[in-house]
């Protein structure tokens, strides 16, 4: 069975972003870009399913600008068998990405689609659920454990209050939470091998998908900074401050 993994190119999670002073966006000039950390977990899970013999082919898909090719090469260096870039310079919102992925799901017919639960740039947490809805597939979001057998995926999910387990018929959409696995690093030989793996480039128009944004961003600004308060010398002073000054205990 095929697994399709969606990969987003985002600002590296160690970068401290800044809003532009004129409110027009986030300053991305010269900023390090990386694979969205949740998508690394999604790819790792697909690789483990392949190593267990459950999955036969792992396809990495990214939607966005030409530079996403680098992110797909990284995915293939980790082990994806091939890559597909849906290339566009238009700002892509989750609904548009879900429609593009739906078109590729129709074409590739994967048994599993694995995505990160959210991207660390827009923090939307939508694309997997939207894809599942558009494709008429069951979903298990926020996965912390995945088992695939007999045409079903049994997925444990991180939910408010604890853990929940669902059984989905395949094909299905899974989105990954932090504790599903620990992603591997690419090795040098695999980085070299990835250069020769197939990377297909398609356009939204070729897939027949309207990607026009539905939301316009009017302004991006930094929230009011919280300033550091005071250091207290000991526990007694702390308690006195909390009682008499902050009045919270």
């Amino acid at each position: 069975m095929k697994a399709l993994v969606a990969i987003k190119r985002v600002v590296d999670f160690n970068v401290k972003i800044r809003a532009k002073p004129d409110g027009s966006g986030v300053d991305l000039a010269g900023v390090k870009m990386s694979m969205n950390p949740f998508d690394e977990i999604a790819l790792e899970e697909a690789m483990r399913l392949k190593e267990r013999g459950v999955v036969s082919e792992v396809i990495a898909v990214s939607c966005g600008v030409g530079a996403c090719k680098d992110t797909l090469r990284s995915a293939m260096a980790i082990g994806a068998d091939r890559g597909i870039l849906v290339e566009t310079d238009v700002e892509l919102q989750p609904l548009a990405v879900a429609k593009l992925l739906k078109a590729l799901v129709d074409r590739e017919q994967p048994s599993l689609v694995i995505l990160g639960k959210q991207a660390i740039d827009d923090d939307c947490n939508q694309t997997g659920q939207m894809l599942a809805a558009l494709a008429g597939l069951p979903q298990a979001t926020f996965a912390s454990k995945v088992e695939v057998a007999d045409g079903h995926a049994t997925v444990t999910r991180e939910v408010d209050g604890g853990l929940e387990t669902l059984k989905l018929s395949l094909p299905a959409v899974i989105t990954t939470d932090l504790r599903l696995n620990e992603p591997r690093y690419a090795t040098l030989p695999n980085i070299m091998k990835a250069k020769n793996k197939p990377l297909e480039i398609v356009t939204p128009a070729q897939l027949g998908v309207d990607i026009a944004p539905r939301l316009s961003t009017l302004k991006i600004f930094e929230p009011a900074k919280r300033s550091a308060g005071i250091r207290v010398p000991d526990v007694a002073t702390l308690i006195a401050k909390l009682k008499n000054e902050a009045k919270v205990i």
Partner: protein
């Protein structure tokens, strides 16, 4: 012209409302002028009655069937869609359930979904945090229906008692057959719910083990009537359960008092707690980033300071 009717999809346990539902009702009143609440569940009439008593709600729609017992996304989204046509806004609390279902509803209505709204600017314009709360985006929707998840800490909870909404029974959707519930493992606790607690005592990797995490922090939480939270590092290390995680991808909390014990304060952690009214940091590293946002910083070994705190309270 979009209709100003708002549907809030309740989060509940079939008996009572989750507080986050009442935060969403407040956001709903900022969006429109008529607020209805959908209670989709199984044997959930007590929850429907609780929803009808929430101040500001004019009607409760109550769908009741085994297919709605476990909040499966496929069924719940179908239930919302079956009722969606009169509404200009469909709001979910931004809880694990709301986040699971809202995007399905939006996609099937062919509209954008707006995540984690913290402020309603106007009928079509909203503020939401991006980049782990390091920036706020003001976004305007051109869609006829606005499907929104409401970050609970952005809105005060509507009053739980005093409303007199009518309750309409509505037809429940059939089971999709796509997914099935297997089990739920929920930690039982007498402590308040983390997301809505007035005081949160939170621990980091410095605690060193799950035993020490509980031995050191529970007495303090018990004394203060606080919920327990944890940093991602503590959860990843297995010292605390996953649903205690406070941060960008865990719980977003804004209690009156947040006490961070042995938490360095990565950006991703701060994203989950920096809107707390008063922040206390106890850490032996004088350079820990948590001190940059703490109202009261105590540079001390938590294994000394926390027991002293418990003894003195």
């Amino acid at each position: 012209m979009t209709t100003r009717k708002v549907l809030v999809v309740a989060e509940h346990d079939h008996v009572s409302m989750k507080t986050a539902t009442r935060n969403a009702v407040t956001a709903a009143l900022a969006c429109g002028d008529e607020v209805h609440v959908l209670v989709a569940g199984y044997n959930a009439s007590e929850a429907a009655q609780a929803a009808a008593r929430v101040v500001g709600v004019s009607k409760v729609l109550h769908a009741d069937a085994p297919s709605l017992a476990e909040g499966l996304a496929e069924n719940l989204a179908a239930q919302v869609l079956a009722l969606a046509s009169p509404y200009g806004y469909i709001l979910f609390p931004a809880t694990s359930s709301g986040k699971n279902v809202a995007p399905r509803v939006a996609a099937l209505l062919d509209v954008a979904q707006i995540s984690d709204v913290v402020r309603v600017v106007s009928s079509d314009t909203f503020e939401r945090p991006i980049y782990a709360g390091n920036a706020i985006a003001t976004v305007q929707s051109s869609d006829p229906v606005k499907v929104i998840t409401v970050r609970p800490t952005g809105f005060d909870a509507a009053l739980a008692e005093g409303g007199v909404a009518s309750i309409d029974s509505v037809e429940a959707v059939a089971d999709s057959g796509l997914s099935a519930f297997v089990e739920r493992v929920v930690a039982k606790s007498d402590r308040p719910e983390l997301a809505g607690a007035r005081i949160v005592v939170s621990g980091g990797r410095a605690l060193g083990s799950s035993e020490k995490f509980l031995d050191v922090l529970s007495p303090l939480a018990d004394k203060l009537g606080a919920a327990l939270g944890a940093s991602r590092a503590a959860v990843d290390a297995g010292y605390a359960p996953n649903d205690w995680q406070v941060g960008q991808t865990g719980k977003i909390v804004a209690p009156q008092l947040y006490i961070a014990c042995g938490i360095s304060g990565a950006i991703q952690h701060q994203a989950g707690m920096k809107d707390s009214r008063v922040i206390v940091a106890i850490n032996k590293d004088p350079d820990a980033p948590i001190f940059e946002i703490a109202d009261y910083g105590l540079e001390a070994d938590l294994f000394d300071a926390v027991p002293q705190l418990v003894a003195a309270l």
